[in-house]
Symmetry: C2
Subunit: 346 residues, 2 copies
């Protein structure tokens, strides 16, 4: 009789802390004290063990929604991404998801194509997320007041108001320019996305300044803005190939564009890299799969996602954290098969 088990194994409902309490013969808050992981709360090891045993036997799992409501903390992040079909962003998501999961956080994924970024962010706030990873393009669409008081990290856009994790986009552009110039190219084109995000502007500027340092200029007809996708790259390159003064090299502001451009060249019978050198940016996995393999500037996508999540975690613990001086992640040139010395002038 010393071991009466007052409560029967639970009915259909999920096991609650109250069930555990009943079984352990303690009050419900005591269960919360034991299992809540609150380090300041000391409880007799005697009862602690009883509670733990009861919890184990019943297979208790705390209800995170209830906890969220009580603690005003959902242990969830939101991640808003402009285009899930771009492998670059998937890597960012993947990196963020990993560190979030390790920290016990869930990740709510939002594709900004399906609904507007504003709607997504509002929904996330309604869900009491503890932080949001936002890409630059989406961030730009959001009126400042809806982001007020939200823990936000912006990817690739130091907007001055939110902390951000960014790659050294300027250097990325410059690296591409320098590489092509060293190979002897003098007539170089630029293919960029039509979106006006900071990163792409910087890649472009870095590229220009790289050209300028070598005394080169970009003919306006050699600057093309297209949709940021494989299709866009294809169309853009077709246009460049049709030009009277055809460039001998092209820097594409991201790898999808570059892959499209490569495809357009091969389809048109233009030899890469013999007649056209191509440099991409991002270094997505695909870059190593095409033939010839794509020369590109590597941006550490996974690392960006991981850092963004870590930054959110940090700011949850110490909300006082001043806007950390956005350290830039380095970009690095990866020379593969789509670049070669410029053909001799005709």
């Amino acid at each position: 009789m010393s071991k009466a088990l007052p409560s029967p194994p639970p009915p259909g409902r999920r096991v609650t802390a109250t069930d555990v309490a009943a079984r352990a013969g303690v009050s419900q808050p005591t269960v919360s004290l034991v299992l809540g992981g609150n380090p300041t709360a000391r409880v007799a090891s005697h009862t602690r063990e009883r509670v733990l045993a009861a919890a184990r036997e019943l297979g208790y799992q705390p209800n995170l929604m209830a906890r969220a409501l009580a603690k005003n903390r959902s242990y969830t992040f939101g991640v808003v991404i402009p285009d899930l079909d771009n492998p670059f962003f998937m890597e960012v998501v993947s990196g963020a998801e990993r560190v979030a999961a390790e920290g016990g956080y869930g990740v709510l994924l939002c594709d900004a194509r399906a609904a507007s970024a504003v709607q997504h962010v509002e929904a996330l706030v309604s869900r009491m997320v503890d932080g949001i990873v936002l890409d630059a393009a989406s961030a730009a669409e959001i009126p400042p007041d809806v982001l007020a008081g939200v823990n936000v990290v912006v990817i690739d856009e130091p907007d001055g108001v939110h902390p951000g994790i960014a790659s050294d986009a300027r250097d990325a552009g410059r690296l591409a320019a320098q590489h092509l110039i060293e190979l002897g190219h003098r007539c170089i084109a630029f293919l960029g996305p039509a979106t006006e995000t900071h990163t792409f502007r910087l890649r472009e500027r870095g590229f220009y300044s790289g050209l300028r340092e070598a005394g080169l200029n970009l003919a306006s007809e050699h600057l093309l803005r297209v949709e940021a996708s494989v299709g866009g790259g294809r169309r853009g390159m077709r246009q460049l190939l049709a030009l009277h003064e055809r460039p001998t090299a092209c820097f594409c502001a991201n790898d999808l564009l570059a892959l499209g451009a490569l495809k357009a060249c091969l389809t048109a019978g233009v030899a890469v890299p013999a007649e056209m050198s191509l440099v991409g940016c991002d270094d997505i996995e695909m870059a190593r799969i095409v033939t010839p393999e794509l020369t590109t500037v590597r941006i550490p996508a996974r690392e960006i996602g991981a850092r963004a999540a870590r930054e959110l975690l940090r700011r949850i613990d110490e909300p006082a954290a001043g806007r950390k001086s956005t350290r830039l992640l380095p970009a690095s040139l990866i020379v593969r098969g789509t670049t070669a010395a410029a053909p001799p002038r005709p």
Copy 2:
């Protein structure tokens, strides 16, 4: 004095239904009635408007956590995926996210590489998700009892206990076999992933039966199981190329493998499709980017994800829904550049 506004604009906290009630001069539950979207509850249009006005002025957004707790419904789905780096799964996620978002549902993304599928599912249940989309490989790892009472849809594995959305994997394999046979190939290899999931087994079997129908057989040395990635495909094809009796064609159980195989051929100087025909499976975007473009069997990934989410939505509304007789989504052969007539026998 007829328009006294009792409550000042809200302090730092988020606006709650109580704030709205105070402002509208009604009780808090009334606010809930008006904004809760409950169609059966009728409220005087007079007060309804006052409430709506107050809500608008205050910028009220209901707290979904609180709602979740009260309604025992979180308006959130979980999606567990074995490998976020496989574009096929990203498409599945993308499709699921879209219909979830349209239905007002959030999506918690879980990468089964970061943590075990069991941990992910337990975490999801703790978060009171209203449904889980689970890939076959992850589903296999999960003890049945942790899935008890959970609204689950399994991707590509009719396991008999949970509803599933699946492609016609058997037919996919058969289509590949028939295509290669029609091209005159007689010595055909198979490259599959080492994982033992239903879909891949079926693709394999369908492939065999396609061969058998033509009186062909698969030499055991022509059956290779490798890691389900580009690298795996590369290594597998290298092995095949080194064989004394080298096959003239190969069916790869997914596109990543096929792309790796293609890469291995091109690297080794083996002409595709002249000396080696390749058929992939999935039809990821990359398939159209490589040169030559990959012949493959199309599996409608996005549609699978979308249907999985729709099925969850359906089963939330009518939990009685019997295990819908998993209708198979058709696979279709997409002939592109990596297949050609078999070379004449030496």
